[in-house]
Amino acid sequence: MSTAAAEHALGRTDAEGIAARARGLTKAYGSGETTVLALDSVDVDIARGRFTAVMGPSGSGKSTLMHCLAGLDTVSAGQVWLGDTEITGLKDRELTQLRRDRIGFMFQSFNLIPTLNAAENITLPMDIAGKKADEKWLNQVIDQLGLRDRLKHRPAQLSGGQQQRVACARALASRPELIFADEPTGNLDSRAGLEVLGFLRDAVDELGQTVVMVTHDPGAAAHADLVLFLGDGRIVDEMARPTAEAVLERMKRFDTIRGTVEGDGATGQGIVPDQGIALDKD
């Protein structure tokens, strides 16, 4: 076992800037006997200016983690910060404002309001806030995403890839502290998917944004700077500078563990959880 693991707890980062942080984050569904822990006392730091991917098998709690970090879902226990703001305990109105002003979202599908054209969709969060968009930044984002000649189109007139690019532009438009992307390539063909991932990468590298992406596609995760692996509501591993193959290998071990119900004996760069991983979660 790596000694670093003792000092450097999983999911925590040494980086100076922390965009979002969670301590003891627990999310339980149901009560009493039937309680299911979606997140089990998770500690995590999201580094500023980095592209972080969250991976894990179905039911591992990766979407729940994202929802809790983004202020979309309430937590059962623990604390969550966005920058220096503790968001656990905020009222709905404050959370809404926070999402509007400080967070960008991309979902797997149904990202755009069908009645608004691309340009209107992109500036929607700022319009809602009654704020003026930063024209220079907006133009940069639009050009970067190659949407210049699509601005007047309604979502129905755009391809799936174009729609996700518009969603990406919207997430970037208000220059948020953090962009959450929930399976952004899940509904796209591989070419369009690659394109979108390229844009997210560029957003981090060239525009200095912070992106957290939930995915179950190792190929997609390989575009990130850091991959966090979730299993049964805990962060069980992390991988810096990932490659698709390495991620795939790591993911296979979830299946192995699941198959053999073995608690330890895992090797490699990751750390194997010392508690058994339940089988019946999905």
Binding site: T96, I113, L116, T123, G130
Partner: protein, 855 residues
């Protein structure tokens, strides 16, 4: 399949709730009106049948008129002796009952009903058939004693020992109340005063030897019909009207029927509006349910259900809705009938709810209306459902009906609209009232249908304009709400149509009534030259005593009397026209300005002469100098020479077709015992109008049945009478709006469900709850205002056409009540806000995550 249908019905019961409410409302009004009128009819049939004498002899009523002459038709009491001699007569007696009476208390307040029901004074004669019995005090004896009915005594706080003044045609007299008579049967709402029989004849009729009817009872073994024939043979049937108890009950019921019919038609009008507006609501609900269930229906089709089964399944669901709605509606109808009966009780008509009649046609009508309406309304959506392809099960749920072209609607709407417009143009250019009115009716119906059909086509252009300022004022929230309203033009169109129908009616009626008011104003300004008019609110005649008192009032200069009488004229073109004619005193020119085409006032009012409207004369080939036979009531006949033709606007208002008038002397000669209907009073020189008014008010204080009016008061009286019509329309509108609101709520609620994911997304990217609510509210407002604008535009066209038809009757002024119209538009925006309350609340309460994940 049946199981699937039932499941689906139960699963959607929440969404069907509002549709069911529309069915309940229409059925309730149908059932309520039927139960109420059945109950009242039964009650009064019983009352009249049990209180009528075997045979009643009354003077023959040959001419009927809206404005009575004031003369009381009588039979001589000498008939009693002749009838008594007829074989089979057990008893004959003279009866007195006079309706147009005013009774005032010591403070000169009328004790009569305020509801328009009459005050009846009669003789106290007890038989086992009397509707009333003496419950306290004693029977009236001598000229100064009277009985009062218990309900009136109670309501007006009159007790035994109090003194009342009876203002009768021969003169006022004071009576002391010595007893209280209580109804043994249902009190129809009138106030009753009973006098000693001999006193009643002299004081109410002016002569001791006349009565208003003779009541004849048959001896044992003689049927009413036999008795009637025998009496008729003895006294002659030409001069008198004879009726058996049954016939009498029928006549009385028919007279009451007029009043009942009004209630019945008003209620059916409500039911009609409820049905009409409800149809839109049901069509919309089913369309939306089917749109939402496209995948489910596609799956059914993929699993092998054929089109007919799918259609039948939807129609069965509609029928179930109709059955549930009808049943609840029937129950609500019974409640409504009870409410009406109680209301009648407050107005003095004491019906008993325990005696409520629910005949078999009531439930039949309820179910036919309820199930029929739902079935018909669901038919089109059901056909559309049957058209869902099995592929729909596999495709991503696309909201059906959004993209389908509206070409068919455009074509049909255009054709029907063109026909309607043609009918309206025809009505405007028509020169005869009858054909103009029928063209108007046709045009109104066709243009309404055309607007309903073409409504969805108008959604885009109109809402683009109406909501045009939304993005500028409300930013992207405004933009989204405007575009949401445009999203499904069919749905927006159908939702707004419900509101449109009601508001089109209001728009049309308000233009028509404003035009009528203005026409009458112009007319009054142009023709009325008197300082004051003395008359009562409903143009009924009043006793001579009042005329004399007015003439004797200090400061009163010229007083010109006006009387009315029913007449029948035989015209040169062979037509016999029954109408009302007026009689004036000769100084008419001093108090009125009449424009003559030929002749003048002096000629018109001279003995043996008559004047009429020039247009009427032309229509019937009457020329100046023609001699026409004129029939008066009670068989009086003469021939009068046409000596003047008038050229007045609105000469034919208030049922006075032909604008006939002559000298007061002519009326006095042929209609003896008539009463004045109006007095036109000018101030004497040296007396100011204000002084005269004060004096007249003082003179008329003991006579609450008449009022003094100057020009402005007189106009207000006319306005008030026109307003009564408007109130009814407003009540109808109120109901239409209630249902239309349900429709808007329905549409919004279903739209919110459809757009769950969109709402989730909006909330996720930072739309506050308050902003979401505003977005839905704005959509609701724009839909409501769209309906209002469409309805008022249509109503405006109708109103102008109605005015054109009225112009043929002389009401030539056109007035458009802009303030009312603007208020209606503002009101419709409020309606939109109210309708959005619940759907908006529901949308804002949605869980963001669940909404995003919503399928």
């Amino acid at each position: 399949m049946l199981k699937a249908t039932l499941r689906s019905f139960l699963a959607h019961k929440g969404r069907l709730l509002l549709s069911a409410l529309a069915v309940v409302l229409s059925v309730a009004f149908v059932a309520g009106s039927l139960i109420f009128s059945d109950t009242v009819t039964r009650t009064f049939d019983r009352l009249f049948a049990s209180t009528s004498a075997d045979v009643t002899v009354t003077p023959k009523e040959d001419l009927d008129s809206q404005i009575p002459s004031g003369a009381i038709a009588t039979v001589p009491t000498s008939l009693v002796a002749r009838i008594d001699k007829v074989d089979g007569v057990a008893l004959a007696r003279p009866d007195v009952a006079v309706e147009n009476i005013t009774v005032v208390d010591s403070e000169n307040e009328s004790v009569g009903p305020t509801t328009g029901a009459p005050t009846i004074a009669g003789d106290w004669y007890v038989t086992e058939r009397s509707p009333v019995e003496l419950t306290s005090g004693h029977a009236p004896r001598g000229p100064d004693e009277a009985l009062l009915d218990a309900d009136t005594a109670d309501k007006k706080h009159v007790g035994i020992g109090d003194t009342l003044t009876v203002i009768a045609q021969p003169g006022s007299f004071k009576v002391k109340i010595v007893g209280i008579a209580t109804f043994r049967t249902t009190n129809p709402g009138a106030a009753l005063v009973f006098l000693d029989p001999a006193v009643a004849r002299t004081k109410l009729l002016g002569k001791a030897d006349v009565a208003t009817s003779i009541q004849v009872d048959a001896a044992k073994g003689v049927s009413d019909e036999q008795l009637k024939q025998r009496v008729a043979a003895a006294i002659g049937s030409g001069t008198y009207e004879l009726e058996t108890a049954d016939e009498q009950a029928e006549t009385a019921a028919a007279q009451l029927g007029g009043f009942l019919d009004v209630i019945k038609y008003v209620m059916l009008g409500f039911a009609g509006i409820a049905v009409l507006v409800g149809v839109f609501l049901i069509v919309n609900t089913f369309s939306m349910l089917i749109a939402q269930r496209t995948r489910e229906l596609g799956l059914l089709r993929a699993l092998g259900a054929d089109r007919r089964q799918v259609r039948r399944s939807v129609l069965l669901e509609a029928t179930l809705l109709g059955l549930v709605g009808s049943t609840l509606g029937l129950a609500a109808g019974i409640g409504l009938a009870i409410g009406l009966i109680e209301l009648m009780g407050l107005l003095g008509m004491n019906l008993k709810t325990a005696e409520m009649v629910i005949g078999w046609p009531t439930p039949v009508a309820a179910y036919v209306v309820g199930v029929g309406v739902t079935f018909v309304a669901a038919y089109l959506p059901a056909r559309r459902a049957a058209g869902v392809s099995p592929m729909a099960a596999l495709a991503d749920a696309e909201i059906a009906g959004v993209g389908r072209p509206l070409r068919v609607r455009a074509v049909v709407g255009l054709i029907v609209g063109a026909l309607g417009a043609a009918a309206l143009v025809g009505c405007v250019t028509a020169t005869e009232t009858g054909s103009a009115a029928s063209l108007l009716g046709l045009g109104v119906v066709l243009t309404l249908i055309a607007t309903v059909i073409a409504g969805p086509l108008l959604v885009r252009p109109v809402i683009r304009v109406l909501g045009g300022f939304f993005p500028a004022v409300f930013g992207s929230i405004g933009r989204m709400s405007q575009r949401n309203a445009l999203r499904n033009p069919r749905r927006t169109g159908a939702t707004a149509a419900a509101l449109m129908v009601g508001l089109a009616l209001v728009g049309g009626m308000s233009v028509a009534s404003a035009s009528m008011s203005k026409s009458f104003d112009d007319q009054i300004d142009k023709t009325l030259g008197a300082d004051f008019v003395v008359q009562n609110a409903n143009f009924l005649p009043f006793p001579q005593e009042i005329t004399e008192k007015v003439q004797d009032t200090e400061g009163a200069g010229l007083v010109v009397r006006q009387r009315f009488t029913p007449v029948a004229v035989r015209l040169p073109d062979g037509k016999r026209v029954e109408t009302t004619a007026a009689g004036y005193e000769s100084q008419l020119d001093e108090v009125a300005r009449i424009t003559y085409a030929e002749g003048d006032t002096a000629a018109a009012l001279a003995d043996g002469n008559i004047a009429m409207d020039a247009g009427f004369a032309k229509d019937h080939d009457v020329r100046l100098g023609s001699t026409i036979p004129v029939e008066f009531p009670a068989g009086q006949k003469t021939e009068l020479k046409v000596a003047a033709l008038t050229d007045q606007d609105a000469a034919e208002g208030f049922g006075t077709q032909g604008g006939l008038f002559f000298g007061l002397g002519t009326i006095e000669k042929y209609v003896p015992g008539g009463q004045d209907s109006a007095l036109y009073v000018n101030a004497a020189s040296g007396t100011s109008a204000d002084t005269l008014r004060a004096n007249l008010d003082k003179t008329l204080d003991p006579y609450p049945q008449v009022q003094v009016r100057d020009l402005a008061d007189y106009k207000k009286l006319i306005h008030d009478q026109i307003a009564v019509l408007l109130y009814l329309v407003y009540a109808l509108l109120g109901l239409a709006i209630v249902i239309a609101v349900l429709g808007v709520v329905n549409t919004l609620a279903l739209s919110v469900v459809e757009r769950t994911r969109e709402i989730g997304l909006l909330r996720a990217i930072g739309l506050a709850r308050r902003q979401l609510r505003r977005m839905i509210r704005l959509e609701s407002v724009v839909i409501a205002v769209f309906g209002a604008v469409l309805g008022l535009a249509l109503g405006l066209v109708w109103g102008v056409c109605v005015q054109q038809v009225l112009a043929l009757q002389g009401m030539k002024a056109l007035a458009i009540p802009w303030t009312t119209l603007v208020a209606v538009v503002v009101g419709s925006a409020v309606v939109g806000i109210v309708a959005a309350l619940l759907p908006a609340l529901r949308a804002s309460r949605m869980n963001v995550l669940a909404a995003i994940a919503h399928e």
